[in-house]
Each structure stands twice: as C-alpha cells, then as structure tokens.
Subunit: 392 residues, 2 copies
C-alpha cells in the first residue's frame, strides 16, 4: 500500500521529466538556442481561429463532456469527407489534445496484465500511457530501418506483429505519418498491419495527427477505412492548425467504445476547453485547410533542407527527422548523453532515441518548432557535432 | 482480454453520462429552462482575465508540462499567503481543472486492490475517479445529516473514519466547503479527520475548490496547514474566477508526490492549456480576489434566498443546496427518477442524490449556474413539485 511518501505502482512506472535536465541547461545557454526536442510549430494558428478572436458570453463556461455541439457537428462532416468511414455524432469525441484522447482510449482498452503492441520507433508518450493504464507496452520494430529489425515488405509486417502477439495482447498502436520517423506507411503495409490485428482480434489505435503534413511518398490512408469495427483514430488540432497550447484534438471510432472512452475522459478531465473547441470549429469551417496547405509547403521545404544538411533522406511527412547517430557514438566517448550534452553546450536540444523505443543510437530533430532559419542553424550545429565525433 | 467490442474492466466500472437522458429531455423543453444540475457560474471571469484579452505570439504553443513559469510563480506566492504551509515551485502543479488534478493525484496514490475513503456525500466525479485508478471508493458518512449516519462531533468523525479503514486503505478524500452539502467543516472536525488519517498513515486529498465561496459558519482552514507531509490540495480557477470552460486548476503538496503526479498528468494530457494558464496568472495578480469578493456576495444572497424558498438552512459555502426529498418520495409514485422527470417536464434539472454516495432520497441544486432571477424561478418550480408530492 502506498503510504506517504510512497506512490502507486503505476506512478512509479512512469518516466520523470525526460528532457528537463537538458532543458534547464539549455535555458542557461548564453547565445541563440535551438529547442528542436519538442514537436511544436513556429506558425501562429489560422487568422480568426485564435482565442483572441473569441468574445461571447458564456465562452468561459463548461462545454458538455461529449463536446461543444458546433464542434461535434463539424467533426462529423470532416470525418465523412476525409475519414474513410461512416460517421455519426456518437462516433466522435473532442479530447484534451490527441494525447488526452489516446490516454483515454488506452485506459478504455487495456488494463493490468494486458499488453499493447507499439509500432516502433513510436511517439514517446505512448509507452508511458500504456503503463499508466497498468498494461505493458510491447515495441514491434516496424517503421525504422531494416538494420534495426524493421521489415521490408508487408509479409514482414505481418510476421513482426505475429511474433509479439500473446494471449494478453489487446491492441496495436501505429502512427502514420510517423513520429519520429517522418515516414508515411504504404497502403499495403497498413493493410498488412490491420490484417494481423484482425486475425488476432485486436483493437487498433491509429495516431494520424500528422496526416495534413505529408510531403512525399505514399498517399495517407485513414486506417478506419480498413477496419472501422476495431479502429480508434486520434486526430489533433495542435498539429493540424498550430494549436498545441489549446489542448484540443478528437477521437473517432465505433459508437460503443467512444461512449466508454467518454466515461474515462469525463473522470479524467471533464472535457476539453471551451475556447479551444470554438476555434477548432472555426478552423474546420475552411481556414484550417488553407493554413494546413501553407504549413505543408513551408514544412516540406525546411524538412528537405534540414535533411540535406544532415545527409539523410527527406521526410515523407510529419515534423521530424530521425537520425542514426551510431557512427558518431562509436567515434567519441560518453555515449548518447555526452553527445546530447555537447549539443546543449552549443545551444541545441534534440530528443534522445531511447524515448522512442529500443533506440540508444538515434536522435529526433523537430524541424518545425522554430522558424526555418533558426532551425537550420540548429541543424548546422548538429551536423558539426556529428562531424567532429566521426572525425570528418 | 477486452477484444472488440469489449472494453477494459476500468472503463466498464465507470458510470455513463449521468444526466444526459434528462438533459436531452430538458433541451426539448419549450419554455424557460433551469439547468441547475451542473456546478457552474452565470458570471463572466474578471475583466482583463478573459481569453479575448490575450494576444501575443506563441500563445497557442505548448506550455511546459510543469506549468507556465509565470503561473507557477504566482501560485507559489498565493500558497505562501493563503495556503497554510511552506511552498516552493516544486510543490505546485497547474492541472486541467481541479478534476484533472484530482484524477492524476488519485492515480498517483491508489491502484488495483486499494481503497480510498470518501467523506460523503461527495463530489460526483470522485467515486469514478477512484474506480478509474482501479481502486475502490469507500463512502464515509461524514458531512451529511445525523439521521444519515453522519457524526455530530469530532470524536464521531474519528470513529466513522476508523470504522472504514482496512489494510488496503491508502487515502482519504474530503471537500470543504462541501459539494454537495454547502457545509464548511469546523477546524476541530478537520483536525479530527487529519488525525485519523495520520494515525493510519494515509494520504489526504483535500478538495478546496470552493474556498473563496464561504458565506457563514466556521473559517476555512487549508488542510495543508494541519498535515503538509501527507496532504495534496486541489484548487480551481473554474470556481475561483468563473473559468470552468478553460480547464485550469492546480495541486499543491509535498515535492516528491507532486513530481510523481506530474509524470501522470504528462501522460494523461501533456499539460493544461496555455491561454488558461495566462489568464489564471493575471487573475492571481489581483483581479481574482476582487472578482471572488463580488461573486461571494452575490452567491451568498441567491443561496440564502433559494434556501429560504425551499425551507432549508442557508448554505455556509459552495454553490449548492443539498435537499432531503424523502418526504416527497414517500408521498408519490416512481421514486427519485419520477420526481426528476416531473421537474424536467417543467424545465428544471437538478442532480440526483445517488451521484453523491448512498443518498437515494436527495437532490442537489446549483444556485450559481444561471442568473439569480432564473435560478429562483427554477427553485420555485422545485418547491412546487415537492409541495404537490407531499400534498401541501
């Protein structure tokens, strides 16, 4: 029993503030800094879709836990147009960001003694989210490099998933376009994944928060189009329209599971903020698409240039580059932490590979968190640190 | 294992949308409606503390998971002034409302197989929050009427708590000023409660969201003043300054447990909305106290008048009246649901007693959710329905 000062087993299983020691060190840096460790955008949200544009009586009151009706209606319309499957009001749920949606979905699908497969490398919070539900995250190398055990074709995808399924497996989490990989999974891969999930009768959690940010590679396929009966999809106003600080996203899935998730979110946060839901509804009425198209062009350009300077392939989507820094680690002392420290000493913070699964020799670089010219100066710092480590 | 369409045991244990059937019926009501079932305020937040007052670059970006530094500093100052115990930055954590704070705190303190004592009648979400953590809520009749088993003195308080403590008990939840009772617990009662918790080495969760809304009775005592080593206190911008829709509150407690809770909130929602944290910091700089003083005077007046019309004692604090309607149930058919339905048919929705613990013969009425004149017309509807049922 957790007597003071002890805490619950679940709380003990969660990682503490991952970047905070480095972030504090960065805050003390004298020159220009490059905080490329967090996924955010330098762009302001669409005009007329900012909280300063809102001013009506009752704006600061609770919205219903099921969501602001105007937003729910706009989400239904949006899902019918682009979501790949039928959608009624009972299929959607506004959430406190996609994070709040995915956390509630995992708590609704998994519990102690159960396992959730994570297509790895994965979004850093998802492993802790699975642990917070009392369940066990099981990384499946699926979207990385073949030398890290990732498959090279759909048959390999099925084999990788099958190899990790146990009687305790309840769900499979996948994100495309991917964080941290910047990869867009081909339709045949997604079909293979969903097929393996269907074969084992698993839930599918599809994290599609970067769907608007695709620059190359295959078309984005909404996973609900492949298996609407078992898929819960998370979407994000943060990523779609530069509203991360507003904490609003949404889930879409089968009616019964959305109702159960609503019970969880009500008891976790009551519901997402009212002003965030209002500006999200405004963005969905048109300005959001225009903003996303503009952001996409800007992101693609800076992503391509950042990749060129680092000597890696241009990202297909998302807002990150995923870098194998093992050659630099082999040529210098102190491992990944020492490499990160050398970056921080020059004002640059990037995210360490182990946050994304079993990847002690990788880092993730966000190319949209700061304006392009700042980002590229940060990328140059990283290129320089890596070149020094490899002696080139 | 929860295969589609099944969900987790925790999700199954949570109540669905409690009021939604009645709320939908209310929405179809032709005349004026009195939605007195939810705890909210008709007042707008303080001037210059509304989201429409904010407009700076970066306002829509993530805040750090530990909170916006300006808010954290303001909270520390506030806790040092009024919180009853020493406070540093590491003792406070902005949360997605007090709800988000309490949910994360419970998940941090309790897990499967453990029990949390709830001073009953209690805030409706807390029982589900305990279940969401996989633990068991144990109501302790403490703040109701003596005829419902509540004690009448501090010795009775200790006896009531001791009688429910088992080896699995990890924490005690108490709220004063109380929701739904409107009661402010005397210092000697709180000392007795905390003494019983200390004796059994329990955590104490003190829900003080209504502390600014005290109209009569004992002074409010911050429970941290009595047991800072084991108390986590939840406070609310929603209740303090009419900002429920912004979803911001905060926790204050021992450094180690606040750090553990931050791990939970990061994995539940990342953090509270940035604009909400900004206006909360503004309110703490002065306008909040003035607003609360004005609100207190208005709330006290309408609360007193509502109580007078219903023939119950005036509330000591909070925003609710807690009514024993057993005489009306005895005199009519169909029980509480039928009584609620008769209210809804006249445009009035109140909250049913079973949401607050084992109270099948009570209802809760919020006297601040609508403007006073509307509230009092709703109260008159209730008085009329009750009078008809008792034949008076």
């Amino acid at each position: 029993m957790p007597r003071p000062p002890e805490v619950s087993q679940v709380a003990r299983s969660l990682p503490g503030a991952v970047y905070s020691a480095f972030a504090e060190r960065l805050a003390r840096h004298a020159g220009e800094t490059y905080p490329l460790h967090v996924g955010d955008t330098w762009l302001e949200p669409p005009a007329r879709c900012r909280v300063s544009d809102l001013d009506r009586p009752g704006l600061h009151r609770y919205a219903p836990p099921a969501g602001l009706p105007a937003l729910v209606d706009a989400l239904v319309e949006r899902e019918r147009t682009r979501g790949g499957a039928a959608c009624e009001r009972a299929n959607v749920l506004p959430t406190v960001g996609a994070t709040g949606g995915l956390a509630a979905a995992v708590a609704t699908l998994a519990g102690p003694g159960e396992e959730v497969l994570l297509a790895a490398p994965y979004w850093p919070l998802i492993a802790g989210i699975v642990r917070a539900a009392g369940a066990t995250p099981v990384p499946v190398p699926l979207v990385g490099a073949p030398e890290d055990g990732a498959p090279t074709d759909p048959a390999g995808v099925v084999a990788a998933v099958r190899a990790r399924i146990t009687p305790r497996t309840v769900a499979l989490y996948v994100s495309s376009p991917g964080n941290p990989t910047g990869r867009v999974l081909p339709p045949a891969w997604l079909e293979a994944l969903v097929g393996a999930a269907r074969e084992a009768d698993l839930w599918v959690l599809s994290d599609e928060v970067y769907e608007d940010h695709r620059y190359a590679g295959p078309e984005h396929v909404p996973v609900r189009a492949l298996a609407p009966e078992r898929t819960i999809t998370a979407r994000s106003c943060s990523k779609a329209w530069g509203m991360a600080g507003l904490r609003c996203g949404w889930l879409v899935g089968p009616e019964a599971v959305i109702a159960a998730i609503r019970g969880v979110t009500t008891h976790a946060v009551y519901g997402p903020p009212t002003p965030a839901q209002e500006v999200a509804a405004r963005a969905l009425a048109g300005p959001g698409d225009a903003w996303a198209a503009d952001a996409r062009a800007r992101y693609a350009q800076v992503g391509r240039e950042a990749a060129r300077r680092l000597g890696v392939p241009a990202p297909e989507g998302g807002t990150f580059l995923w870098l194998d820094v093992r050659p630099a680690l082999a040529g210098s002392e102190g491992g990944l932490d020492a490499l990160l420290a050398r970056c921080v000493d020059r004002g640059l913070l990037v995210a360490p590979g182990p946050s994304f699964g079993p990847f002690p020799g990788h880092v993730r670089v966000c190319f949209t968190a700061t304006p392009p010219e700042v980002t590229l100066r940060g990328v140059d710092v990283l290129a320089q640190v890596l070149a020094e480590a490899t002696g080139r």
